[in-house]
């Protein structure tokens, strides 16, 4: 599977580019508060990473993101690899300098984006083929190409290219393919198994192609869909590659939440404790709290910034859809306890009045939603450090569901780590 040479190259890289320390562990659940020491910045976990797709957080400056308190953000390899492209990024000295962000960055492999945005042609052993949106040609994203672009971008953490067919249910062609297998459990398992093994081979190719292991950390991605056996096998193999951190992929695609938490739980049980665990694509408040109880350290999601642009504000008791007419004469701030600029200066009524017409409305709501996310993560972390995380979870859930109608999956998930709502 893997040569001993690439394995040892990874181990020695760990101590150079990533310094992981568990600051505190919850004595009840599997939650941990850690310090992830990266080249540009030490990141405190559990951590939520906002997504800055094309080298910008949709209308906010790097300074505004820094002032909110984020230590790490995410950049998208597909977008940046196309525009402005790896050659220009090298000239610019990497993404950090290009967008003037001095703290840490994580880049994804580009695979997921391509599946969700472009028409999928074919997945071969070589790589993933797509119809080019700009010409008649075919684009091929190989593990080597993905790493090449990510090396040029220069992020602190880079992601392996995984076999995207197994990892997602989006994209018209992929859905088509999955449908055909869905009614046949056995064939579905075979498909998963095949793609999962390919993912491991692609991981090895990524490790081989990676030029900057002394200053960029390559994370692997555990796949296997919702099948516990496949997940188990994947973890077993992937851990042998000894990457500095491990991501859990293939979830947050709209699957049943009962399956979701069980897979997360299994993975965190099996994964090594002394490395960060990154759950990809998760960002709803309840999910963040529950998965932190299950032992996840890192998250990313477009949700807070995307929903801001649609006029929705996140609050400890749910959401406010500020376009609604009920807010037109509501002269309260979004959340009177929120320290953000938007809550300090503006009322719901005012935001309601500008939401459809001024881009500044998007910026103001993004600032609020990102502040909400970071405050949530900081509260989670603080409660773990002070060993009162279970009480924090109970209080959080009570505020989010005052009538006690907790979602069943969350009740079950928390019960599995000894929090009883």
């Amino acid at each position: 599977m893997t040569t001993s040479a690439s394995s040892s190259a990874c181990s020695s890289a760990i101590s150079r580019a990533l310094n992981f320390k568990i600051a505190a562990e919850c004595t009840t659940t599997k939650a941990r508060a850690c310090l992830i020491g990266l080249p540009k910045c030490t990141v405190e976990s559990p951590v939520f990473m906002p997504v800055g797709t094309k080298g910008t957080m949709k209308g906010l400056t790097s300074k505004q993101i820094e002032d909110i308190g984020f230590q790490i953000i995410l950049g998208n390899t597909y977008h940046l690899g196309t525009n402005p492209g790896p050659e220009l990024m090298e000239k610019a000295n990497g993404l950090h300098d290009f967008m003037n962000w001095k703290r840490s960055i994580l880049t994804d492999s580009g695979g997921y984006q391509m599946v969700s945005l472009l028409e999928l042609s074919e997945v071969t052993e070589e790589g993933v083929q797509f119809a080019s949106p700009y010409s008649d040609g075919i684009l091929l994203l190989t593990p080597e190409k993905s790493i090449e672009i990510q090396n040029a971008l220069g992020a602190d953490i880079i992601m392996q290219l995984d076999d995207v067919v197994s990892s997602t249910l989006v994209g018209p062609r992929v859905e088509e393919a999955m449908h055909r297998w869905q009614n046949n459990g056995f064939l579905s398992k075979v498909l998963m198994s095949v793609t999962q093994i390919r993912t491991l081979r692609w991981l090895d190719r990524c490790i081989g192609a990676h030029k900057n292991s002394h200053r960029q950390n390559l994370f692997c991605i555990v796949q296997g869909g919702l099948d516990m056996d496949l997940r188990r096998k994947c973890v077993e193999e992937i851990v042998k590659r000894d990457t500095p951190g491990i991501a859990i992929g293939g979830l947050s695609g709209g699957e049943d939440k009962q399956d979701f938490w069980k897979v997360v739980n299994l993975c965190t049980n099996l994964l090594p404790k002394n490395k960060p665990r990154y759950l990809m694509g998760v960002g709803y408040a309840v999910d963040l709290v529950v998965c932190s109880a299950l032992g996840v350290d890192m998250y990313d999601c477009v949700y807070p910034t995307r929903t801001a642009r649609f006029g929705t504000a996140l609050v400890p008791w749910g959401q406010l859809r500020l376009k609604q007419s009920q807010f037109s004469t509501d002269f309260n701030p979004i959340d009177k306890n929120c320290p953000c600029l938007t809550c300090k200066k503006y009322t719901r009524a005012y935001l309601n009045s500008i939401i459809k017409q001024e881009t500044v409305a998007c910026h103001l709501l993004s600032i609020h939603n990102l502040t909400y996310q970071i405050q949530l993560m900081q509260s989670i972390r603080k409660s773990i450090l002070e060993d009162r995380f279970p009480q924090f979870v109970k209080d959080f859930m009570k505020e989010m569901f005052p009538d006690g109608n907790y979602p069943e999956w969350a009740v079950d998930a928390l019960a599995s780590v000894k929090i009883h709502l």
Binding site: K54, G55, T56, M57, K58, G59, L60, T61, S62, K63, Q64, D67, H79, N83, P84, L88, K91, A92, D97, F98, M99, N100, S328, T329, F331, L341, K345, Y346, T347, A349, Y350, S353, I354, Q357, E358, T359, V360, A361, C362, H363, L364, I367
Partner: protein
């Protein structure tokens, strides 16, 4: 010596001072386009910034009822309680639809369409807003309107002014803390301009706005023929504001015609077209016109093909950030510019944002253009104080 009518002055409100010649920042629906309040604070003299809000952008939303219910005035509602506000009755963007004005009302165009506003309704709205200043309701015609229609616009506007002034005398009115500006009309007819100016000057107003002088309502020669003649009929001790004259060259000519204040559509329109203002820094520095100017390196090896020489040129220019030549230019937009955008970001990054239609592109360009505009006015006042007007004219091609 500066032109015949150039004036240096200051507007005082509370503890703040706006020096003239100066400008009010364009504010639409309560926001400066693209700019959140924390970014606005990075501009020089931010607390003294006066916001110019056109009526059309606030008439419907928030609207009278909402503002009354809120009860704390427009400035508070839109998050700028420490800034002063000037509300103009007219909106200077888009086509002026004067044919829809009537004897008793003016038509204001909002998102949902046309609203007729009478002077009393306007006054009530101003009461709910509580700005520092407001323009009286006015009926403005372009220079090519008929004589009859032009006369009517002068008559109507004076009538509107008198009604607005009557409202201010009414028992229990809430306009004591705000000041009214008269609107001087007259289209392209010198007689009507003089009549409007002299009649307006008889009324107890704070200042005068000169209407109809934008380049789509009047040709440029007529503008600078009529402006000085009009201002000469206005009292010296009261401020004069003209809307929609915005390029540095035209501002200089307008100041020579006796104008004190301007608006900020120009930097806004530049931003919408991906253009950045480039003040001729080296020249400004050598004339000692800006005390805020950073050190501009003396580089003897500059060739005229060097992209950097754009900010070394001897006169004012514009830069189009969309152009391909900036895609790998990792220098600031304008070297030596101390604005947020030039201090933190590069031409290549801003070019990338614009090409990818990212909102941050507009944010960074707007901040830069406002910052340059502020600095331009600094140079204007400085050149008046230091007898360098002729040199200023040359720098800005006036």
């Amino acid at each position: 010596m500066a032109g015949p009518c150039c004036r240096l002055g200051a507007l005082q409100f509370g503890t703040k001072v706006v020096e003239t010649p100066g400008f009010f920042i364009y504010n639409r629906s309560g926001v400066v386009p693209h700019i959140t309040p924390d970014l606005l604070e990075t501009l020089n003299n931010a607390p003294s910034i006066v916001m110019h809000t056109p009526l059309a952008s606030i008439l419907e939303e928030p609207g009278l009822e909402k503002l009354r219910k809120y009860g704390k005035g427009l400035a508070n509602f839109i998050g700028y309680k420490d800034n002063s506000f000037y509300i103009s009755a007219s909106d200077y963007q888009g086509e002026a639809m004067y044919q829809y004005n009537e004897n008793k009302s003016v038509s204001v165009w909002t998102k949902t369409g046309r609203t007729r506003v009478t002077p009393d309704e306007y006054s009530k709205f101003i009461e709910a807003c509580q700005p520092s200043w407001y323009q009286c309701l006015c009926d403005t015609v372009p220079a090519n309107a008929t004589t009859k229609r032009t006369r009517k616009s002068v008559d109507r506007t004076l009538e509107f002014l008198d009604q607005c002034l009557n409202y201010r005398q009414k028992q229990g009115n809430n306009l004591k803390a705000t000041e009214i500006w008269a609107a001087v009309e007259g289209g392209g007819l010198i007689d009507e301009r003089l009549r409007s100016a002299k009649e307006s000057a008889k009324r107890p107003v704070f200042g005068f706005t000169l209407e109809g002088f934008s380049s789509d309502q009047m040709n440029i020669e007529t503008i600078f023929e009529l402006l000085p003649l009009t201002t000469q009929s206005l009292p010296d001790e009261k401020p004069r504001l003209v809307h929609s004259i915005g390029s540095p060259a035209n501002i200089i000519k307008a100041i020579e015609s006796g104008i004190d204040l301007f608006d900020a559509y120009y930097p806004y329109n530049l931003t919408e077209n991906n253009l950045a203002m480039v003040l001729p820094r080296k020249a400004i520095k050598s004339l000692n016109l800006s005390h805020r100017l950073a050190e501009v390196e003396e580089d003897e090896n500059d060739s005229s093909d060097d992209l950097q020489s754009l900010d070394r040129s001897a006169t004012f220019s514009l830069m189009n950030l969309r152009e391909d030549k900036f895609k790998d230019d990792f220098t600031p937009m304008v070297r030596g510019c101390k604005c947020f955008s030039c201090t933190n970001h590069t031409r290549a990054y801003i070019h990338h944002l614009i090409i990818n239609k990212e909102m941050l592109g507009g944010v960074l360009l707007m901040l830069h253009n406002l910052s340059q505009y502020i600095e331009f006015f600094d140079c204007v006042r400085s050149s008046l104080k230091n007898n360098k007007w002729k040199e200023l004219r040359a720098l800005f091609k006036a």
